[in-house]
Symmetry: C2
Subunit: 138 residues, 2 copies
């Protein structure tokens, strides 16, 4: 590891019925409930053009993950051979950033309601990005 470090400042928080890891699905399209993203007042200007119907990429900081894990059994199934975490979507990894493709269902002043978010209640939100049609950037 290098000496340099950078500070991530949450822009908001996940509000979800998912409250513990055991009940959370492994991927958002495996039955996650709808959730709300609640934003800090200081970033609302950055959010102003997001509308219901938009597909957005939500980046989260998976604050309950382990950062010292480099290899894992995919999907926590010991029958799966161990692989390096950079080949998995495991939350346990050196920088536990979650990527979630969601659809915006509704919004009010400070909140977006989104479909299919597999993050736990209270998870910090750290960025939102558009899905750019025709651009292969994930």
């Amino acid at each position: 590891m290098s000496d340099a470090q950078y500070e991530v400042t949450p822009i908001g928080t996940v509000r979800s019925p998912l409250t513990n890891q055991a009940s959370a699905p492994k991927q958002g399209n495996e039955g996650s409930p709808d959730a709300w993203l609640e934003f800090h007042p200081g970033v609302l200007d950055a959010l102003r053009d997001i509308q219901p119907g938009d597909q957005v990429i939500v980046l989260t900081w998976l604050d309950r993950a382990r950062r010292d894990v480099l290899r894992t059994h995919p999907r926590d199934d010991l029958a799966n051979p161990e692989v390096g975490v950079f080949s998995t979507r495991s939350p346990d990894r050196p920088n536990p950033i979650g990527l979630h493709l969601v659809e915006v269902l509704s919004r009010d002043d400070r909140r977006l309601q989104v479909r299919n978010l597999e993050a736990l209640d209270g998870t910090p939100v750290i960025d939102l990005k558009p899905v750019l049609p025709g651009v292969a950037d994930a």
Copy 2:
């Protein structure tokens, strides 16, 4: 903003012929050169299953971006109306995380050569994730 902050520790560094923002394309598929990702020795175990031909999502920390920008003219073109940065891929945003879909061309012990990376030389790499076929997670 909330009081909580989290520390991102780089896992590696971009080595690229792109050395300044003015010459960098706005998206990776607009003519970026091939680049190398050079990893810190402490994370090599997490990298062990990445192979040439893999499509991977590279997360970077865009260390030369401005974090106090909430609205921007897309593509730095003043003719474009200003929009909230969460509706853009601008590097200037509260947490300047870059998302890049790349193909692995080759690897050696500590490095991956990748196609189409629009990040500047020296940019910290903070995570690698697989593109999961059939899973809509971006």
